[in-house]
Amino acid sequence: MPHSRMRRRDFVGSALAGLAGPAAAAAASADYAVKFYPFTQHPDSDTCWSLSAGPDGRIYAAACAESVPGGIVKPVRYNEQRDDLDYLFDLAEKVEDPADSGRATMSDGVLYMATHLSGPPIDLPSYSPWYSWHDPKRCFRGAALLAFDTRKDQVLWWDTLIPKEGCRCLLHDEDRRLLYALSYPRDHFMIYDLRTRRRRDVGRIGSINGQTLFLDRKHRVFTTNDYGHLVRYTPETDRLEISPGALPHNPAYQTGWHSVFYDVAPAPDRASRSPAMANCTSWPRAGGMR
């Protein structure tokens, strides 16, 4: 059955690993039927850190295996005709970094995805990025950026997005053909130009990653830092700025520390994008984020 296509390029991203077929779970409500689809064809998968609608309107998810030595990621897609999951490919094979390498693992209809890390090298029980940082065999090779054509089910190309580090989150400025990313563990702000396929490290934000990046209408990029402040990147000035005010938190129990964005959602009118935590007043007289 044809899926509606969009002209706009997609985005999405993040890294991960494998999955499987459907195994019915629970029905919670007569009106809202609920079903669980385990990643049965990736039995080592233990997390699903990324899930998004693709440019074709179908759901793509990452079946990750971050607690398994040599664990790999498999992108999957929900198939509504079969009411099951399609396993698209083994991402480790596509970026020429197979599970047995010994390392830490982990427009128009094009879906961009990038890998993260946390799966240990194949011969270690757990992963420490610093322990393996200078180890040429066991270090994480870097976040791989992969372009997937959802109309042809074909990997178009891949590149190294962030050497030696994982990609915590990914944002696509479709108009300017730019990808923005946060690196882990060093929490650097990265820009990747899709036209030239060149990357640039703008600088470090802190130590605790935000889990998401998002754009406003002026093409400025927002995330959060360790202390619960907004971080804003303005392309025209090429500067990262920290808001003077912290985001809302309960002072009885919190200081703002580690109050990072985990996700944001568009407003119901789709005309603005509202982060779950912020009321956009952290920059007085700045006109908010819309």
């Binding site: 969009m6 985005f11 779970a25 809202y32 669980f36 385990p38 699903c48 074709d56 998810a61 996700d263």
Partner: protein, 83 residues
């Protein structure tokens, strides 16, 4: 939470951002484990909800099918460009 809720289940709320009124619409239950840890959510082109799950092996995703009167074509547009 009322007494009908189970341990380790996930709850899906419907929130009116204008009034902050919310209603519970669905509960996520894992066949043999916890379901309260959801990493991400998304809407597909039919308006159905999907949630990424963390905490079991193998892991997986939840689908919440919307009732007929809340189905919406091309509900994923404008597409979300971050994640």
């Amino acid at each position: 939470m009322d007494a009908t809720h189970k341990d380790r289940e996930g709850v899906v709320w419907r929130l009116d951002p204008a009034t902050l009124r919310r209603e519970e619409v669905a509960r996520l239950e894992h066949p043999n484990g916890s379901a309260q840890y959801v990493s991400r959510g998304a809407v597909d082109h039919n308006g159905d909800l999907f949630f990424g799950h963390v905490g079991s092996r193998p892991c997986g995703i939840f689908k919440v099918s919307m009732p007929a009167d809340r189905k919406k074509k091309d509900a994923h547009l404008p597409i979300r460009m971050w994640g």
